[in-house]
């Protein structure tokens, strides 16, 4: 695989211009998502009204893959029903990224997704 394939334009775009990257004031739920092995550290914020995610944002720092994933995931979540969000699986996250993820990068790709699972579990 070439480097141009994993660092596709949309990945770099979401990395350099992340969507929904802001701390949320009074979220319904917020959870930290950390990867101790590389220091990537995020917080996922969800605002939920009538079982619907009205806004999803994140803050923190990390690599291109984890940042792009955070940006893409929060984009997708905004406006989603909680039940729909619960139905999301790892493959959906990979599909959003649209790149081949090697074994060593799975944690990066799924970092905020794991945060989402945690957030919904505690709801």
């Amino acid at each position: 695989m070439q480097n141009s394939e994993i660092y596709k334009q949309h990945i770099l775009d979401h990395y350099n211009n992340p969507r929904n990257k802001e701390e949320m004031y009074k979220p319904t739920v917020s959870v930290p998502a950390k990867n101790a092995s590389c220091g990537d550290s995020y917080i996922l914020y969800l605002a939920i009204e009538n079982k619907r995610i009205t806004q999803a944002t994140f803050s923190g720092v990390g690599c291109a893959v984890s940042q792009a994933a955070a940006s893409l995931l929060t984009e997708k979540l905004t406006g989603m029903d909680v039940e729909e969000a619960r139905a999301l699986i790892e493959e959906d996250m990979y599909a959003m990224l649209g790149i081949e993820i090697s074994l060593g990068r799975q944690k990066c790709a799924l970092l905020l997704f794991r945060g989402l699972e945690e957030a919904l579990r505690n709801l």
Binding site: S4, G39, A64, S102
Partner: protein, 445 residues
């Protein structure tokens, strides 16, 4: 026999007072202090032939020796020979194979002792540095040397293998843990160390070389201060052994440990050295077969040290491989390896510095075992390592099991390139090209 060994033997057989060349190997042999000294200018091409993994089509440019070194053919052969021709358990068999296995195993103890300036009965075989460290902390706990309120001192550049067992030990015994901090140039702050070590200090645990910064610490200096106040000195030599000459007497270490796999030996085997007088104060914390004098229904009497620290069937093949690894390194000469790593590191640092945005976290090449950790402003270390990896350049990204150090440096992670005896300038050039590519990729968006 390795290519290198063959050549050295050939050199020894010929007239020993000359400098001469065999192919591109330069030997100069002289007599000093009634000893023959052979200086070999390493020919990397020939050394590389001893590492079959480097000969493999499409294998990576290997700049990850600080994580684990590659294994030369003679080491593989020694282990293979054990498995194929005299596989048996040690110490208890009365047949030929068991005797040979025992002889080889014990011969390793002498070879290792000689390699680090110790006596054979000061050498304990373990599962590795981490195994040594944990075992030692538990053994400390069984003594009455440490009591509540005592201080243990370590450094900010320690590996988790020292830090975690030490933290846990300190918590259990209610000891205060203090840190020797960093100086200006990624070395230890020796002035602060002097103050940090006080009359209350019972143990100073420090690494001989940092696996992130590459820095070779002046252990002798810290040990002097530690011994002034009567503290024990524990040295983590894992990153240093096989890269720089290590002598426990010169370092004045009471305990020292390392792993086989960072010095051309196999994984899963390591060494714990304990000064005889200090070892005698310890009781093994790990019990089982092969270490007893006597057992009754209710009690046991342990056998002699250091064997009493080696309960159970050890990693016999690993120990045998470790012996060969030391012999291999000695034929080449650890000093020669050190010089090669200095030179190659100096070149790497120089080329990395030319790339805009690169920040280097690594001490100067002369006081460095051959490691350079760096960041590039625009590219996260994980992305850097991935891009390098795709280009067939093996490095490591992360905190390299030294989190407090990274916290101190205010960075979450670094990319680390590490150099060893088989590293060429071409390897470094491949690294540099790929770092530039990473920079280009991330500049696009």
């Amino acid at each position: 026999m390795s290519q290198f060994e063959k050549r050295v033997i050939a050199a020894e057989r010929s007239n020993p007072r000359f400098s001469f060349k065999i192919k591109s190997l330069c030997y100069s042999i002289k007599i000093k202090n009634c000893k023959f000294q052979i200086r070999i200018n390493m020919d990397i091409d020939i050394i590389r032939k001893d590492f079959s993994i480097l000969q493999k089509e499409g294998s990576s440019v290997y700049l990850d020796s600080a994580a684990t070194s590659l294994t030369p053919e003679p080491v593989l052969k020694a282990m293979d020979e054990y498995y194929r021709t005299y596989r048996a358990n040690i110490h208890r068999g009365l047949y030929r194979e068991a005797e040979k296995a025992s002889v080889e195993y014990e011969a390793t103890r002498r070879v290792i002792a000689n390699f680090i300036g110790a006596d054979s009965d000061e050498i304990i075989f373990t599962a590795g540095a981490t195994g040594s460290s944990n075992m030692l902390m538990y053994a400390f706990e069984l003594t009455d040397t440490f009591s509540e309120g005592d201080e243990v001192v370590t450094t900010i550049m320690e590996h988790n293998a020292v830090l975690l067992p030490l933290q846990a030990f300190a918590k259990r015994k209610k000891l205060n843990l203090r840190y020797i901090e960093l100086g200006e140039c990624f070395e230890l702050d020796y002035d602060q160390a002097e103050k940090c070590i006080t009359e209350k200090t019972k143990l100073v645990a420090l690494t001989l070389a940092s696996n992130v910064l590459g820095t070779i610490n002046d252990v002798t200096r810290v040990a002097r201060r530690a011994h002034e106040v009567g503290a024990l000195v524990l040295v983590d030599a894992t990153a240093a052994v096989g890269h720089v000459p290590v002598d426990v007497k010169q370092l004045d270490a009471d305990f020292l440990f390392f792993s086989g796999h960072k010095m051309c030996g196999p994984t899963g085997v390591g060494v714990l050295y304990g000064k005889k007088s200090e070892l005698a104060k310890l009781t093994p914390s790990y019990l089982g077969g092969g270490i007893i004098e006597e057992v009754t229904r209710t009690d046991y009497v342990l056998g002699e040290q250091p064997w009493s620290f080696e309960a159970g069937t050890p990693n016999i093949a690993g120990v045998i491989g470790l012996k060969k690894a030391v012999e291999y390194l000695e034929t080449i000469g650890v000093e020669n390896i050190q010089t090669h790593c200095h030179e190659t590191l100096a070149y790497t640092q120089q080329e990395l510095k030319k790339i805009e945005g690169v920040k280097i976290f690594s001490s100067d090449p002369v006081h460095n075992i051959g490691i350079v950790s760096f960041t590039l402003a625009t590219v996260h270390p994980h992305d850097m390592a991935e891009i390098l990896g795709k280009n067939g350049v093996a490095v490591r990204a992360g905190h390299h099991c030294a989190v407090p150090l990274h916290t101190e440096l205010c960075i979450p992670a670094t990319t680390r390139a590490s150099i060893y005896l088989y590293t060429t300038k071409d390897d470094v050039d491949a690294l540099i090209e790929s770092v530039k590519e990473a920079q280009r990729i991330f500049a696009q968006a």
